[in-house]
């Protein structure tokens, strides 16, 4: 009998093993595996859209990347003054601060998404003659450059990962060491130089996407940070002279209308892609973040931008200050202009003066274009390039408040010590997140932050 059973068992094993292998082979239904992903322009398109989407996350431009630098610049307040935010205002950031980790993580999420596109899309058959595919890769390069630019501004030396994580096969491959700032800037500039070949402007479905002019605007800013002022100024002139974009006359229109004539690269939010920050910083919605009193003091009384930027609203008997540039909260579709012509004027003002080591008429004109719109008297001269640069930074602070730029500008120019009271240039950089140090023994903490 036992023999009979054994035979039956073997038989049933033989019969079922084939079908059983199929039975337990389950492929995802609502996801695609990497092996089947980059096969054509359609999948690549969704990967690029997905990469833009990463920028809208609440750890990126959807909240944290606005809020955190603005706390550091002294413009923000939090309903409960949570230390995780106040540490930025006080330039005393703990290495386990969650926001340093969140922004870091979000940046590399974008980078991995773009690395996939940049490496895998060119392997698609016919890539060499497919202009759409090539442009999609250029967009990915623009987004990767933007992410590394934000990383290098925030942390200085950072790991430079340029291939997809899925191609890093071992655990030690994932533990990438830091690259020098020079190497990171070189990679950024290389990416942007290729993105320059994108169509200069985009409309329709192309709104909110990287364009050739957006690449120029970002490269101009990158060169300003990189100290290549002549190149920064040249690119700024090219953008202004292109005339595709023009300054809006009413400053508030930049935020109250979507994709204004001034907006070169504007991140698109809507009901499906909600902006967390506007939900959390609005008098009629959840109120977690406010503008600080100090933000108000940055402006002169007659500055037309003041009451729009720092919005005063009576609420339950007490007046509160709100972040005025974020208003479109229902649905939470406030767009975020990342590159706009107003900033390009200011880049030009600074870069041209520094490039020529003199405060030229052209640099004054660029600065005064912004001041004029704000209802302020023009600046007619400056005692030195350094003095002029400081004037430009102060103007940038008023113009760009709540656009995540001011903190980086003040650190770049070293004015953060004087204007914000940062005690040491070491604090111009954020700490490498503790968790990342724990997971990657090849990383070294930034100077000034104890282990």
């Amino acid at each position: 009998m036992k023999k009979y059973l054994n035979k039956l068992f073997l038989l049933s094993v033989a019969v079922f093993t084939l079908s059983c292998d199929d039975f337990i082979e389950k492929q995802p239904i609502d996801q695609l595996s990497q092996a089947t992903f980059f096969t054509d322009a359609a999948t690549t398109r969704t990967a690029v859209i997905g990469a833009y989407r990463t920028l809208t996350s609440s750890f990126s431009y959807g909240q944290a990347f606005i809020v955190i630098p603005e706390f550091a610049a002294g413009h923000m307040a939090h309903i409960s003054s949570f230390p995780e935010y106040m540490e930025y205002e006080n330039f005393d950031i703990r290495i386990d601060n969650p926001w340093s980790l969140n922004i870091w993580s979000a940046s590399y999420t974008t980078i991995n998404a773009t690395n996939n596109i940049i490496v895998f899309a060119p392997e698609i058959e016919g890539f060499g003659t497919n202009n759409e595919l090539q442009n999609l890769v250029r967009e990915a390069r623009f987004l990767r450059a933007l992410s590394y630019f934000n990383l290098v501004r925030g942390w200085g030396e950072v790991p430079l990962v340029l291939i997809p994580t899925s191609q890093q096969t071992t655990g030690s491959d994932l533990r990438v060491s830091k690259s020098s700032k020079g190497e990171v800037y070189a990679a950024i500039i290389s990416d942007l130089n290729q993105a320059l070949d994108l169509p200069l402007t985009g409309t329709g479905a192309g709104k909110g996407r990287a364009t050739g002019l957006a690449a120029r605007a970002l490269l101009s800013k990158v060169q300003l940070y990189n100290g290549n002022h002549a190149e920064a100024a040249r690119l700024a002139v090219e953008i202004i002279a292109n005339n595709s974009y023009s300054l809006v006359s009413d400053f508030s229109a930049i935020w109250l209308t979507e994709n204004s004539s001034e907006s070169i690269f504007e991140l698109q939010f809507d009901a499906q892609t909600p902006n967390s920050f506007v939900q959390n910083a609005n008098p009629a919605s959840r109120q977690e973040f406010f503008a600080s009193e100090a933000a108000l003091d940055v402006f002169e009384a007659n500055d037309l931008r003041r009451d729009f930027t720092v919005r005063r609203v009576a609420n339950t008997g007490a007046e509160q200050l709100y972040v005025g540039k974020y208003r479109n909260f229902n649905p939470p579709g406030q767009n975020v202009p990342i590159l706009r012509l107003g900033e390009v004027y200011l880049i030009h003002a600074e870069a041209s003066a520094k490039a020529e080591s003199s405060v030229t008429t052209a640099s004054l004109e660029s600065l005064n274009a912004i001041r004029k719109r704000a209802g302020l008297a023009p600046v007619s001269s400056a005692t030195s390039v350094a003095a002029f640069s400081r004037i430009v930074q102060e103007e940038r602070r008023r113009e760009m408040m709540f656009e995540s730029e001011v903190w980086f500008d003040l650190c770049r120019t070293g004015l953060a010590a004087d204007i914000l009271g940062v005690s040491t240039p070491q604090k111009y950089l954020f700490p490498i997140p503790q968790l990342e140090l724990d997971l990657n023994q090849n990383l070294v903490q930034n100077p000034g932050y104890g282990q």
């Binding site: 039975f23 389950k26 994580t165 909110g208 007490a318 990342e436």
Partner: protein, 999 residues
């Protein structure tokens, strides 16, 4: 051995002969003591009718035509059959049954006499299940079985639970046991978490899918513990297996039972938390503002001491509870049935929360021919959870509601809600509780149809087809008016999830007696199981008014989504039980499982096990040893597996839904490896069964070692990868422990007293973690580290309040004092794994009264009281706090244990020993007093049995823990974060009264 001397139980089996020809009467006494025995059943064998003895042990009954034999029986006593003949009066004395260990135990794919069992199995019989009002089958296990720890994650009606059989074995795969109901491994998510989106505020309040099973339908629960018992369910058995067997009809036994109870529950007064009153609060909040770096002063509205609102009183309520069920059972030789219908409704002690369930069941058995037998079970339930926000949710009543300023009222004279003017995100606690809704309705069909064909004597084939189909509909609504979150806009969501699971099992059974010394039985089978989970959800905002909570009333569609996933498993299984001389027993299992969840290289795994038992007590040299009876030694070894990880994590995947600018996007979001394989648990068990004192004390005891290797861990990887985690097989955990179950019949006779006690001592240790420590929980408070119990608490060590600064000093690595800012100063400061746990039940019977007290205990365990954080952080600009604040530090030189308030600084609230408390407790879980109608009276009322009872559940908790209840597990979805109390729903005390009637 779990049988109790329960008078009522015996009475249930009979009805009354209505007419007949002869009258007989008599008296039954206990052999030895000669005391009269009440409640003994006397059955006329030929007709199946009978009576039970009264308090004096006397009986009388009418013998109908054809009645020739009387059967006297009583649980625990030797049955006697007596021919009636011409006698009309019988004096009978019944002896204690030495063989009362004879108990049939359900094991996987079959049953077995406990005498022959070589593996470790705990049984909970229906006598234990039927007695008390139990909301869910999981409560039926709690404190009843050695080695099994059941934790109600919170007091939420119908809420999630955690069950650990012999310790926690896994980090990121599930540590919950497999549940098998009437042979079907079911969807047993004890903490089903639907769309995170729909728990506005980001909570993860689960529902217990097992709450959809009506506990009154259960005949017995078996818990398979050692590898020899579980290996037959190989792939998913490493956390133990809970076998649930439902009631079935019996031939010639027609009964209708009605069970009804009603009562109420409340948050025990003595467990409520102490908060400052208005006067104390105003003093405190002004003090707090004086420390604010930005200056300023509190809003004057907060300083009105004429109002003193007790937010606990506004949050809690006395909540009604009721249960009604009817069951009918009976049948003929060929066909038997059991059918029931039930309704259970439990309101929650927090306003606007509750749970109710409708349940229907039909179990059928039919003998088609000598060779072919059919069975069918159909169970239909609708379970409805009305949820409130708890745990992580931002505006949870326990977290933020209770710390609302006591100087604010609920509503003004015009009935308008009053809101905090200072902290503009704070909700009105009562509005927040009563205006939004968050429901989950689980409609579940659990059914299986099977057939057994007998080829020859000894050889049969069984096939079984089972389906478990759950549809869970979740609806959430945040109204536009009365709450601050999305004020004027509202938010509504609707999500339907469907979990379909089907199973087909086919196996051959063979039984053979070779000679008088050798016999064996064997099974050999093949099973297929497949599951398909899908969901569809949609959300809208811009609701015009509060009245319609359905998303159709909303304006803007803010989201719509759907998803689907599948898994499947194929299994080959076999078992041989060999019996030599009725003294030596061998059980061997072999199972091969193939799972879709693992990588191409590791799809299949093999799970062997073997167990031997030696009834040493039956050896000649042990006969008449004067101490032990039924002495049996057991030992086993085996492997079992765990595959409870998400689907498809063995691949690198792109997921959609990444919409940007109204266009579809995909992102790489799963980083998996094709090498991913099974988590394997190797378990050794040695055990002993024995009874002493003529069977009055019965003991089952086991020692086990469970090594779980190739742990499925969702390890963190450097964020520079663009991912956060990846599943990998890594490391090893060991659980070692000793457990015993003891049953004692302390007193017999007229006054009966039984005790059952079980206790488990488990030691959990992480044996290896090659990639280093893993952190989890709130503030990374829990750690997995080599050499330590899993989930140990990891934080700073509080030294005390600095008398000069009023700040807490923490002990640094080098022994100096400072702020909690350096990671290297964190230490191991607690262990959430209990050193011991168990339960003790005492049953008393006197005349027609029954009384029982059940206690449950957990010892040597620490809890992370994160709920206290919200009362003691001293941070919020308007929040109330614990009354402890009245002895806070005020000025330099003050010596106190409570620091100063610290707006803008959370150092005092850092993850530290400040939040670690002893979580040991002894709970009087259940006290029941029952009274059964005497048989004579019952007869007059034309019922065979009638019992009324009253019960107090959670009568009292003895504990040092300062939170609502030490039985708590807030972070059940985090594999490392055990023992966290995070604003959990308090455990209620429940008073009920009920009636059982059997016709």
């Amino acid at each position: 051995m779990k049988k109790h001397l329960w008078i009522i139980c015996a009475a249930l089996f009979f009805h009354f002969g209505a007419y007949g020809q002869s009258e007989v009467s008599g008296k039954v006494t206990s052999k030895g003591t000669n005391e009269p025995l009440p409640g003994v059943s006397i059955l006329i064998k030929e007709t199946g009718t009978g009576v039970v003895t009264n308090e004096e042990g006397e009986f009388s009954l009418t013998v109908p035509p054809g009645g020739r034999t009387l059967v006297f029986s009583f649980i625990g006593l030797v049955k006697q059959e007596i021919l009636i003949g011409n006698r009309s009066f019988f004096e009978v004395s019944l002896a204690e049954d030495q063989q009362n260990l004879d108990e049939v135990v359900v094991i996987g794919y079959g049953t077995m006499d406990r005498r022959r069992l070589a593996s470790a199995v705990s049984t909970i019989g229906s006598d234990e299940l039927d007695k008390d009002p139990l909301p869910s089958l999981t409560q039926a296990i709690q404190g009843k079985a050695g080695g099994v720890q059941v934790t109600q994650n919170s007091g939420t009606p119908g809420g999630g639970i955690s069950v650990r059989v012999r310790g926690t074995t896994s980090i990121n795969a599930s540590s919950e046991p497999l549940y098998v109901i009437d042979g079907v491994p079911v969807n047993s998510s004890t903490n089903f978490i639907g769309g995170q989106d729909f728990n506005f505020g980001g909570a993860d309040q689960g529902i217990n899918i097992l709450a959809s099973i009506n506990p009154s339908d259960i005949a017995s629960i078996e818990i398979l513990k050692d590898a020899a018992a579980t290996a037959i369910y190989g792939a998913r058995a490493s956390n133990g297996v809970v076998l649930v067997t439902t009631k079935r009809g019996r031939a010639d036994e027609s009964r209708i039972s009605i069970n009804a109870y009603a009562g109420y529950s409340e948050v025990p007064k003595e467990r409520r938390l102490p908060f400052m009153n208005s006067v104390e609060y105003v003093d405190y909040i002004q003090d707090l503002w004086s420390f604010r770096p930005q200056g300023g002063s509190p809003n004057p509205i907060l300083l009105d001491t004429s109002i003193d609102t007790d937010w606990q009183r506004e949050t809690f309520r006395q909540a009604a509870m009721q249960n009604y069920e009817i069951s009918a059972t009976g049948g003929s030789e060929k066909t038997q049935y059991y059918t029931s219908v039930g309704y259970f409704n439990q309101e929650g002690t927090i306003k606007n929360s509750g749970f109710h369930r409708y349940s229907f069941r039909v179990n059928l058995d039919h003998q088609h021919s000598d060779k072919l037998q059919f069975s069918a079970n159909v169970n239909l339930t609708s379970a409805f959870n009305r949820r409130i926000q708890e745990e992580n949710s931002r505006s949870a009543p326990i977290r933020n509601g209770l710390v609302a300023p006591p100087t604010l009222g609920v509503t003004d004279q015009n009935g308008n809600w009053i809101f905090d003017p200072q902290v503009t995100s704070r909700e009105n606690p009562v509005a927040w509780l009563t205006l939004p809704s968050n429901t989950a309705e689980n409609l579940r069909i659990l059914t299986n149809v099977g057939a057994t064909y007998k080829f020859t004597e000894g050889l049969s084939f069984r096939t079984n087809f089972g389906v478990d189909l759950s549809t869970i509909e979740e609806n959430t609504f945040l109204p536009p008016n009365g709450v601050r979150f999305n004020q004027g806009i509202g938010l509504g969501g609707s999500r339907i999830s469907k979990d379909q699971l089907w199973l087909n099992e086919n196996y051959l059974q063979y039984e053979k007696t070779i000679d008088e010394n050798n016999s064996f039985d064997a099974i050999l089978g093949l099973s297929f199981q497949e599951s398909n989970f899908s969901f569809t959800d949609a959300r809208r905002t811009n609701f015009p008014f509060n009245e319609i909570p359905i998303i159709s009333a909303g304006g803007i569609i803010s989201g719509a989504n759907a998803g689907v996933q599948e898994w499947s498993i194929v299994s080959y299984f076999s078992r041989v039980n060999y019996n030599f001389k009725n003294k030596y027993f061998l059980t061997a299992n072999y199972r091969i499982d193939g799972s879709s969840r693992f990588g191409a290289l590791n799809k299949y795994a093999h799970f062997p096990s073997v167990a031997v038992a030696w009834r040493i007590g039956d050896e000649d040299f042990m006969k008449d040893n004067g101490l032990f009876e039924n002495l049996k030694l057991r030992t086993s070894w085996g492997l079992s597996g765990n595959q409870e990880i998400p689907n498809y994590v063995n691949q690198i995947l792109y997921s959609g839904g990444q919409v940007y600018n109204q266009q579809p996007g995909f992102n790489p979001n799963v980083y998996g490896s094709g090498e991913l394989g099974w988590e394997t648990t190797e378990q050794y068990n040695v055990g002993v069964d024995f009874s002493i004192l003529n069977g009055r004390i019965n003991v089952l005891a086991d020692y086990y070692v469970k090594n779980t290797r190739d742990l499925l861990i969702n390890v963190q990887i450097p964020r520079t990868s663009g991912y956060r985690t990846t599943f990998t097989n890594l490391g090893e955990i060991r659980n070692r422990g000793f457990e015993f179950e003891l049953e004692s019949r302390n007193l017999t006779g007229e006054f009966v007293w039984n005790t059952s006690l079980n206790m488990t001592f488990n030691r959990n240790e992480v044996m290896s973690l090659p990639e280093g420590d893993l952190l989890g929980g709130i503030g990374n408070f829990n750690i997995a580290r080599e050499g330590l119990p899993l989930g140990s608490f990891f934080g700073w060590v509080m030294h005390g309040v600095n008398p000069e600064t009023g700040m807490i000093d923490f002990v640094r690595e080098d022994g100096s004092l400072g702020s909690p800012s350096r990671q290297q100063d964190r230490q191991i400061i607690g262990n959430p794994n209990p050193r011991l746990f168990g339960g003790i039940t005492n049953n008393f019977f006197y005349k027609n009264f029954d009384f029982s007290v059940m206690g449950q205990f957990v010892g040597g365990v620490e809890l992370y009281n994160y709920t206290a954080f919200y009362r003691l952080s001293g941070f919020n600009l308007s929040g109330n706090g614990d009354s402890m604040w009245t002895r806070r530090w005020r000025e330099p030189g003050d010596i106190t244990d409570v620091p100063r308030p610290t707006p803008g600084n959370l150092d005092n609230a850092a993850v530290s020993t400040r939040w670690v408390e002893d979580g040991s407790f002894f709970r009087i879980r259940n006290v029941t007093l029952g009274y059964s109608l005497p048989a004579s009276l019952a007869e007059k009322l034309k019922v065979s049995n009638l019992r009324i009872y009253t019960t107090v559940q959670n009568a009292f908790v003895f504990t040092k823990y300062s939170g609502y209840d030490p039985e708590v597990n807030a972070m059940s979805s985090d594999g490392i974060a055990y023992g966290t109390d995070h604003s959990n729903y308090p455990q209620p005390r429940i008073f009920t009264g009920g009636i059982n009637i059997t016709f």
